[in-house]
Symmetry: C2
Subunit: 354 residues, 2 copies
């Protein structure tokens, strides 16, 4: 089956400070093992698709870092935004770029900063979504992940009626999107079997997507088609786009959406506790990168990205992250709030640590 894969790698990740930085955001960092999330994602996609069909959507400031991470990458595989204008603009630019060769090309958008254990199921699901688009070219097809516990940090997709056949896989109409729920609601979702995690993986035909831009984001559509017809206009036109996310700009307004349930192990690594939970078998485990000496210490995430020895005594459930120029210490329970530190850096005269 012929489709193009676009890996989105333009985001930041302030809750993963001090590793995730303006110029080297979380997908460019070795959070799990020694490879970056982008390297892991690219390698995973390459097992199912040819390099000529794999593209990376990113910002100008990340290009150097990405080429360093993926030495075999060709420049033609990069779709580079001259300036960040949120996900609708990023996906729009990728769509018009790939539509130049073939307006009916099928495009799958995947994220670069997710951790996936089961590569085979992941690739199968993306290809199945591609077949769904072949069968229903007027629809966008989203992947939905079967939830395994009541996560409050993810958005959910509410399934509607089942759509007629796609071989073995079932596909459903999308009934609604639900923002991050509270725990009681997440538990209800889990029981009902009608709500899936939304990993923001979209598969669509270029012309179908562009029709949605024309309808729901007409100003942005005009800029994107101007760039489609004359790539030289990218630099002068793209910055005029009003930033909006693909969720608010397109998905929540689109009428024709399908969802393909998928059951691969999927983790959006949003903050440091995710890393700790992903890598620890028991809650009392210390999860360690680098040299660590623990005296009466448990349940900690201790990451050193320098050659420094970290020693703790009587420390439980702390996050300790040490990079070349910064050190973070905070309780695991407050991992979500690390962005507050980043805010304080922005306000103070410490922008070189952003």
């Amino acid at each position: 089956m012929k489709m193009k894969i676009v890996i989105l790698a333009g985001g930041s990740g302030t809750r993963l400070w001090p590793l995730s930085r303006k110029r080297f955001p979380k997908q460019a960092q070795p959070l799990i093992g020694n490879k970056t999330l982008l390297q892991l994602t690219y390698a995973r996609i390459k097992k199912g698709f040819k390099p000529v069909d794999i593209f990376i959507s990113t910002g100008r400031q990340y290009v150097k870092g990405i080429k360093k991470q993926l030495p075999g990458l060709k420049h033609s595989q990069l779709i580079v935004e001259p300036v960040a204008r949120e996900t609708a603009a990023a996906i729009g630019l990728a769509t018009v770029t790939l539509a130049r060769q073939d307006p009916q090309t099928i495009i799958a958008i995947v994220n670069s900063d997710h951790f996936i254990k089961d590569e085979k199921k992941y690739l199968q699901a993306i290809k199945a979504a591609g077949r769904s688009v072949e069968q229903y070219p007027g629809y966008l097809t989203l992947l939905g992940i079967n939830p395994t516990y009541p996560e409050t940090g993810y958005g959910y997709i509410k399934l509607g009626r089942e759509k007629a056949g796609l071989g073995q896989e079932k596909i459903f109409n999308v009934d609604a999107f639900k923002e991050k729920p509270d725990l009681a609601t997440a538990r209800k979702y889990l029981k009902s079997w009608a709500y899936l995690w939304n990993p923001a993986y979209f598969v669509f035909r270029a012309d179908t997507m562009l029709a949605l831009y024309k309808k729901h984001l007409s100003a942005q559509y005009k800029i994107l088609t101007a760039i489609q017809n004359n790539p030289g206009k990218l630099k002068t036109e793209f910055f005029k786009i009003k930033p909006i996310s693909i969720d608010y700009g397109i998905m929540e307004k689109a009428a024709k959406l399908l969802c393909l349930p998928a059951a691969f192990d999927w983790t959006d690594i949003g903050h440091w506790r995710t890393v700790q939970e992903l890598l620890s078998l028991k809650k009392s485990d210390n999860v360690v990168k680098g040299k660590y000496v623990a005296v009466d210490s448990s349940g900690n995430l201790v990451y050193s990205y320098s050659n420094k020895l970290i020693a703790t005594l009587g420390i439980k459930n702390l996050i300790i992250i040490e990079t070349r120029d910064a050190l973070l210490v905070c309780p695991k329970s407050r991992a979500q709030e690390v962005k507050k530190i980043v805010q304080q850096l922005e306000e103070g005269k410490l922008s070189r640590y952003l």
Copy 2:
């Protein structure tokens, strides 16, 4: 008044790891402000004594570091042990070295790793102890610090009968030495007015001290006098000394001991909590060295000896010490146990962090 000052600077300080290291122990480190404790001690002594009368007793491995800290120091001011043999040997070597010129020379032994606020009272007390020795040359005179709270981390001197006159100052016979007490005992001591903190500052005439070595440490005495008569024997003889502390080897056995009460602010910086307490006005203060960003954090000691930014979120009463090659995190309440980390480093293959 003519007397020699010997600053003891041969100790280690494992509870102040990772700053205090085998080659650069605590007295060679900037714990308070930017000067090392040895620099502060030397500068303080120099306000009361001429450099020609000030000596530093240390080990071979520290000489380079000491010369770097005290650029004006002459080599003749150093009394260098070829190998560490505990405090009795260090004081014995200093005594025979200074006795060569004058067997009746008065020697004051002071420590290099204490923090003193009131320099004037400190110097007055040392000089008064010198006068005590002039008046009672057959006695050792010890300084005793008036306790201001029931400290359990110090040793105490129990005062005996008052000794007749020394101008304005009172001096007392020493009744007994008391090891670090528990809190109830320390409170009793504080109430009784008969117990003083023992800072281990001794003042004595060289010949009196050597007579005590002859009586109580005869084997060590023979080695020391051999070195006194022929300095060339230092290298071949000193290592034969059986290590013993001056407290066990001499002080607890000596019959003729005097104590001069002194009332200067004195802190033995034994562990990191001492540093925090010494520098914070309120318990909730963060005591900081280096660049620090605190979000909802209080009562911490945060010391960075590199140029690194340290950021904490939701952290209370922790000790965070970051040096060029190591990082320590532990609760303030367990500062005394930091030596356990050092023990673990000794057992493991991490001796380069000692």
